[in-house]
Subunit: 113 residues, 2 copies
DNA sequence: CCATCCCATAATCGAACGGTTATGAAATGG
DNA sequence: CCATTTCATAACCGTTCGATTATGGGATGG
Protein backbone atom coordinates (compact mmCIF):
# COMPACT_ATOMS: atom_id res chain seq x y z
CA UNK A 1 0.00 0.00 0.00
CA UNK A 2 2.82 2.32 0.85
CA UNK A 3 4.16 1.26 -2.44
CA UNK A 4 2.63 2.76 -5.49
CA UNK A 5 5.22 1.54 -7.87
CA UNK A 6 5.25 -2.22 -7.51
CA UNK A 7 8.83 -2.57 -8.61
CA UNK A 8 9.54 -4.95 -5.81
CA UNK A 9 12.80 -6.77 -5.48
CA UNK A 10 11.08 -10.02 -6.30
CA UNK A 11 10.03 -8.74 -9.68
CA UNK A 12 12.57 -9.69 -12.31
CA UNK A 13 13.65 -7.50 -15.17
CA UNK A 14 12.20 -8.09 -18.61
CA UNK A 15 15.60 -9.17 -19.81
CA UNK A 16 15.98 -11.84 -17.18
CA UNK A 17 12.45 -13.02 -17.79
CA UNK A 18 12.77 -13.29 -21.54
CA UNK A 19 16.08 -15.09 -21.13
CA UNK A 20 14.51 -17.50 -18.67
CA UNK A 21 11.67 -18.20 -21.06
CA UNK A 22 13.94 -18.60 -24.06
CA UNK A 23 14.79 -22.21 -23.32
CA UNK A 24 12.39 -24.99 -24.24
CA UNK A 25 13.28 -27.23 -21.31
CA UNK A 26 12.75 -24.39 -18.89
CA UNK A 27 9.39 -23.56 -20.42
CA UNK A 28 8.42 -27.22 -20.21
CA UNK A 29 9.25 -27.28 -16.50
CA UNK A 30 7.30 -24.09 -15.97
CA UNK A 31 4.32 -25.33 -17.94
CA UNK A 32 4.31 -28.55 -15.94
CA UNK A 33 4.39 -26.63 -12.68
CA UNK A 34 1.51 -24.47 -13.88
CA UNK A 35 -0.58 -27.45 -14.90
CA UNK A 36 0.23 -29.83 -12.09
CA UNK A 37 1.08 -27.52 -9.24
CA UNK A 38 3.87 -27.84 -6.73
CA UNK A 39 6.43 -30.50 -7.60
CA UNK A 40 9.64 -31.85 -6.18
CA UNK A 41 12.90 -31.81 -8.09
CA UNK A 42 12.72 -35.56 -8.25
CA UNK A 43 9.35 -35.49 -9.97
CA UNK A 44 10.43 -32.77 -12.35
CA UNK A 45 13.55 -34.72 -13.25
CA UNK A 46 11.41 -37.71 -14.10
CA UNK A 47 9.46 -35.82 -16.74
CA UNK A 48 12.11 -33.43 -18.00
CA UNK A 49 14.31 -35.67 -20.07
CA UNK A 50 17.50 -34.14 -18.69
CA UNK A 51 19.68 -34.95 -15.70
CA UNK A 52 18.81 -33.94 -12.16
CA UNK A 53 21.60 -31.35 -11.87
CA UNK A 54 20.36 -29.72 -15.05
CA UNK A 55 16.85 -29.57 -13.62
CA UNK A 56 18.21 -27.93 -10.51
CA UNK A 57 20.06 -25.37 -12.56
CA UNK A 58 17.03 -24.62 -14.73
CA UNK A 59 14.90 -24.21 -11.64
CA UNK A 60 17.53 -21.90 -10.25
CA UNK A 61 17.22 -19.69 -13.28
CA UNK A 62 13.45 -19.70 -13.11
CA UNK A 63 13.71 -18.80 -9.46
CA UNK A 64 16.10 -15.95 -10.10
CA UNK A 65 13.66 -14.73 -12.73
CA UNK A 66 10.92 -14.81 -10.08
CA UNK A 67 8.92 -17.34 -12.07
CA UNK A 68 8.99 -20.01 -9.37
CA UNK A 69 9.42 -20.26 -5.64
CA UNK A 70 11.09 -23.01 -3.67
CA UNK A 71 9.92 -24.63 -0.47
CA UNK A 72 12.17 -27.02 1.38
CA UNK A 73 10.60 -29.84 3.27
CA UNK A 74 12.91 -32.41 4.72
CA UNK A 75 15.22 -33.59 2.01
CA UNK A 76 12.91 -32.58 -0.78
CA UNK A 77 12.55 -29.20 -2.38
CA UNK A 78 9.18 -28.32 -3.81
CA UNK A 79 8.91 -25.75 -6.56
CA UNK A 80 5.84 -23.73 -7.38
CA UNK A 81 5.02 -21.49 -10.33
CA UNK A 82 4.79 -17.90 -9.15
CA UNK A 83 1.74 -15.97 -10.24
CA UNK A 84 3.04 -12.49 -10.62
CA UNK A 85 6.29 -13.49 -12.22
CA UNK A 86 5.08 -13.01 -15.77
CA UNK A 87 3.74 -9.54 -15.10
CA UNK A 88 6.63 -7.55 -16.59
CA UNK A 89 6.50 -9.56 -19.78
CA UNK A 90 2.74 -9.27 -19.97
CA UNK A 91 3.14 -5.57 -19.57
CA UNK A 92 5.77 -5.40 -22.28
CA UNK A 93 3.48 -7.33 -24.61
CA UNK A 94 0.62 -5.04 -23.75
CA UNK A 95 2.62 -1.93 -24.51
CA UNK A 96 4.17 -3.08 -27.75
CA UNK A 97 1.41 -5.38 -28.84
CA UNK A 98 -1.07 -2.57 -28.33
CA UNK A 99 0.92 0.08 -30.15
CA UNK A 100 1.49 -2.44 -32.82
CA UNK A 101 -2.15 -3.29 -33.37
CA UNK A 102 -3.01 0.36 -33.14
CA UNK A 103 -0.49 1.34 -35.73
CA UNK A 104 -1.72 -1.24 -38.16
CA UNK A 105 -5.33 -0.71 -37.27
CA UNK A 106 -5.73 -4.35 -36.50
CA UNK A 107 -6.03 -5.53 -40.04
CA UNK A 108 -5.01 -8.71 -38.41
CA UNK A 109 -7.55 -10.84 -36.74
CA UNK A 110 -4.99 -13.05 -35.11
CA UNK A 111 -7.03 -15.96 -36.31
CA UNK A 112 -7.72 -15.11 -39.87
CA UNK A 113 -4.46 -15.00 -41.61
CA UNK B 1 -11.39 -19.49 -43.16
CA UNK B 2 -10.28 -22.95 -43.97
CA UNK B 3 -7.82 -22.38 -41.24
CA UNK B 4 -9.07 -22.30 -37.71
CA UNK B 5 -5.70 -22.51 -36.08
CA UNK B 6 -3.60 -19.49 -36.96
CA UNK B 7 -0.52 -21.56 -37.43
CA UNK B 8 0.55 -20.02 -40.72
CA UNK B 9 3.91 -20.72 -42.29
CA UNK B 10 5.05 -17.16 -41.66
CA UNK B 11 4.38 -17.58 -37.98
CA UNK B 12 7.52 -18.41 -36.05
CA UNK B 13 7.73 -21.02 -33.33
CA UNK B 14 7.46 -19.93 -29.72
CA UNK B 15 11.01 -21.04 -29.16
CA UNK B 16 12.38 -18.90 -31.96
CA UNK B 17 10.30 -15.97 -30.81
CA UNK B 18 11.35 -16.14 -27.17
CA UNK B 19 14.96 -16.49 -28.24
CA UNK B 20 14.63 -13.49 -30.52
CA UNK B 21 13.12 -11.44 -27.70
CA UNK B 22 15.68 -12.56 -25.15
CA UNK B 23 18.29 -10.01 -26.20
CA UNK B 24 18.06 -6.42 -25.01
CA UNK B 25 19.55 -4.90 -28.15
CA UNK B 26 17.11 -6.82 -30.31
CA UNK B 27 14.18 -5.70 -28.19
CA UNK B 28 15.42 -2.10 -28.39
CA UNK B 29 15.51 -2.31 -32.18
CA UNK B 30 12.06 -3.81 -32.23
CA UNK B 31 10.66 -1.23 -29.83
CA UNK B 32 12.13 1.55 -31.93
CA UNK B 33 10.58 0.12 -35.08
CA UNK B 34 7.23 -0.13 -33.32
CA UNK B 35 7.37 3.43 -32.06
CA UNK B 36 8.92 5.14 -35.08
CA UNK B 37 7.82 2.95 -37.93
CA UNK B 38 9.86 1.79 -40.89
CA UNK B 39 13.57 2.49 -40.58
CA UNK B 40 16.71 1.91 -42.60
CA UNK B 41 19.64 -0.10 -41.26
CA UNK B 42 21.63 3.11 -41.20
CA UNK B 43 19.14 4.84 -38.95
CA UNK B 44 18.87 1.81 -36.70
CA UNK B 45 22.64 1.61 -36.41
CA UNK B 46 22.74 5.22 -35.31
CA UNK B 47 20.50 4.58 -32.33
CA UNK B 48 21.51 1.03 -31.45
CA UNK B 49 24.90 1.56 -29.88
CA UNK B 50 26.40 -1.39 -31.71
CA UNK B 51 28.13 -1.79 -35.05
CA UNK B 52 26.29 -1.92 -38.35
CA UNK B 53 27.04 -5.60 -39.03
CA UNK B 54 25.62 -6.45 -35.63
CA UNK B 55 22.47 -4.51 -36.42
CA UNK B 56 22.13 -6.45 -39.66
CA UNK B 57 22.51 -9.71 -37.83
CA UNK B 58 20.02 -8.76 -35.17
CA UNK B 59 17.55 -7.70 -37.82
CA UNK B 60 18.16 -10.99 -39.56
CA UNK B 61 17.16 -12.86 -36.41
CA UNK B 62 14.09 -10.71 -35.93
CA UNK B 63 13.19 -11.37 -39.53
CA UNK B 64 13.61 -15.12 -39.18
CA UNK B 65 11.40 -14.89 -36.12
CA UNK B 66 8.78 -13.14 -38.25
CA UNK B 67 8.92 -10.05 -36.07
CA UNK B 68 10.03 -7.72 -38.85
CA UNK B 69 9.90 -7.53 -42.62
CA UNK B 70 12.50 -6.06 -44.96
CA UNK B 71 11.95 -3.86 -47.98
CA UNK B 72 14.82 -3.00 -50.27
CA UNK B 73 14.78 0.36 -51.99
CA UNK B 74 17.89 1.30 -53.88
CA UNK B 75 20.87 0.84 -51.67
CA UNK B 76 18.89 1.05 -48.49
CA UNK B 77 16.95 -1.67 -46.73
CA UNK B 78 13.95 -0.61 -44.71
CA UNK B 79 12.75 -2.76 -41.85
CA UNK B 80 9.25 -2.75 -40.42
CA UNK B 81 7.83 -4.32 -37.28
CA UNK B 82 5.44 -7.09 -38.22
CA UNK B 83 2.09 -7.02 -36.50
CA UNK B 84 1.27 -10.68 -36.32
CA UNK B 85 4.70 -11.80 -35.26
CA UNK B 86 4.00 -11.73 -31.55
CA UNK B 87 0.85 -13.80 -31.82
CA UNK B 88 2.30 -17.15 -30.73
CA UNK B 89 3.87 -15.60 -27.66
CA UNK B 90 0.70 -13.72 -26.82
CA UNK B 91 -1.14 -17.01 -27.11
CA UNK B 92 1.38 -18.74 -24.88
CA UNK B 93 1.00 -16.01 -22.29
CA UNK B 94 -2.74 -16.25 -22.53
CA UNK B 95 -2.74 -19.98 -21.93
CA UNK B 96 -0.28 -20.05 -19.07
CA UNK B 97 -1.04 -16.65 -17.70
CA UNK B 98 -4.70 -17.60 -17.56
CA UNK B 99 -4.18 -20.94 -15.88
CA UNK B 100 -1.83 -19.24 -13.56
CA UNK B 101 -4.18 -16.49 -12.54
CA UNK B 102 -6.98 -18.98 -12.27
CA UNK B 103 -4.99 -21.27 -10.06
CA UNK B 104 -3.96 -18.47 -7.77
CA UNK B 105 -7.09 -16.43 -8.19
CA UNK B 106 -4.79 -13.53 -8.35
CA UNK B 107 -3.65 -11.26 -11.12
CA UNK B 108 -4.07 -9.01 -8.18
CA UNK B 109 -1.78 -6.08 -8.66
CA UNK B 110 -1.25 -6.66 -12.32
CA UNK B 111 -3.38 -3.60 -12.79
CA UNK B 112 -1.33 -1.66 -10.32
CA UNK B 113 1.64 -1.40 -12.59
C1' DC C 1 33.66 6.48 -64.41
C1' DC C 2 34.88 6.78 -59.96
C1' DA C 3 34.43 7.80 -55.28
C1' DT C 4 31.00 7.07 -51.95
C1' DC C 5 27.36 5.33 -49.36
C1' DC C 6 24.54 1.40 -47.61
C1' DC C 7 24.17 -3.10 -46.44
C1' DA C 8 25.36 -8.03 -45.86
C1' DT C 9 28.66 -11.64 -45.10
C1' DA C 10 33.13 -13.79 -43.39
C1' DA C 11 36.57 -14.47 -39.95
C1' DT C 12 37.54 -14.24 -35.35
C1' DC C 13 37.26 -13.94 -30.23
C1' DG C 14 35.68 -14.23 -25.51
C1' DA C 15 31.75 -15.07 -22.72
C1' DA C 16 27.66 -17.49 -21.73
C1' DC C 17 24.88 -21.61 -22.15
C1' DG C 18 23.08 -26.29 -22.11
C1' DG C 19 24.46 -30.62 -21.02
C1' DT C 20 27.01 -34.33 -18.73
C1' DT C 21 29.42 -36.98 -14.75
C1' DA C 22 31.31 -36.73 -10.17
C1' DT C 23 31.05 -35.14 -5.58
C1' DG C 24 29.18 -33.45 -1.30
C1' DA C 25 25.73 -32.26 2.13
C1' DA C 26 21.42 -32.96 4.67
C1' DA C 27 17.50 -35.48 5.95
C1' DT C 28 15.27 -40.26 6.27
C1' DG C 29 14.67 -44.92 7.44
C1' DG C 30 16.00 -49.56 8.69
C1' DC D 1 24.58 -45.92 13.04
C1' DC D 2 24.84 -46.73 8.50
C1' DA D 3 22.89 -46.99 3.93
C1' DT D 4 19.93 -44.43 1.07
C1' DT D 5 17.42 -40.85 -0.84
C1' DT D 6 17.19 -35.98 -2.42
C1' DC D 7 19.06 -32.08 -3.90
C1' DA D 8 22.74 -28.68 -5.02
C1' DT D 9 27.30 -27.58 -6.51
C1' DA D 10 31.82 -28.29 -8.99
C1' DA D 11 34.45 -29.45 -12.88
C1' DC D 12 34.40 -29.94 -17.47
C1' DC D 13 33.12 -30.00 -22.60
C1' DG D 14 31.20 -28.56 -26.98
C1' DT D 15 28.21 -25.23 -28.99
C1' DT D 16 25.99 -21.05 -29.46
C1' DC D 17 25.96 -16.08 -29.08
C1' DG D 18 26.99 -11.22 -29.02
C1' DA D 19 30.24 -8.23 -30.67
C1' DT D 20 34.13 -6.67 -33.26
C1' DT D 21 36.97 -5.62 -37.65
C1' DA D 22 37.61 -6.56 -42.47
C1' DT D 23 35.78 -7.40 -46.95
C1' DG D 24 32.79 -7.31 -50.88
C1' DG D 25 28.92 -6.06 -53.68
C1' DG D 26 25.30 -3.04 -55.38
C1' DA D 27 23.13 1.64 -55.96
C1' DT D 28 24.03 6.75 -56.10
C1' DG D 29 25.74 10.90 -57.39
C1' DG D 30 29.44 14.07 -58.92
Amino acid sequence: MTDHIPRGDRSASCDELFKALSDATRRALLEYLVREGEQSVHALTAISGVSQPMVSRHLGKLKRASLVTARRSGRETYYTARAKGLAPVVQWMAVYGALWSQRFTALEDLGGY
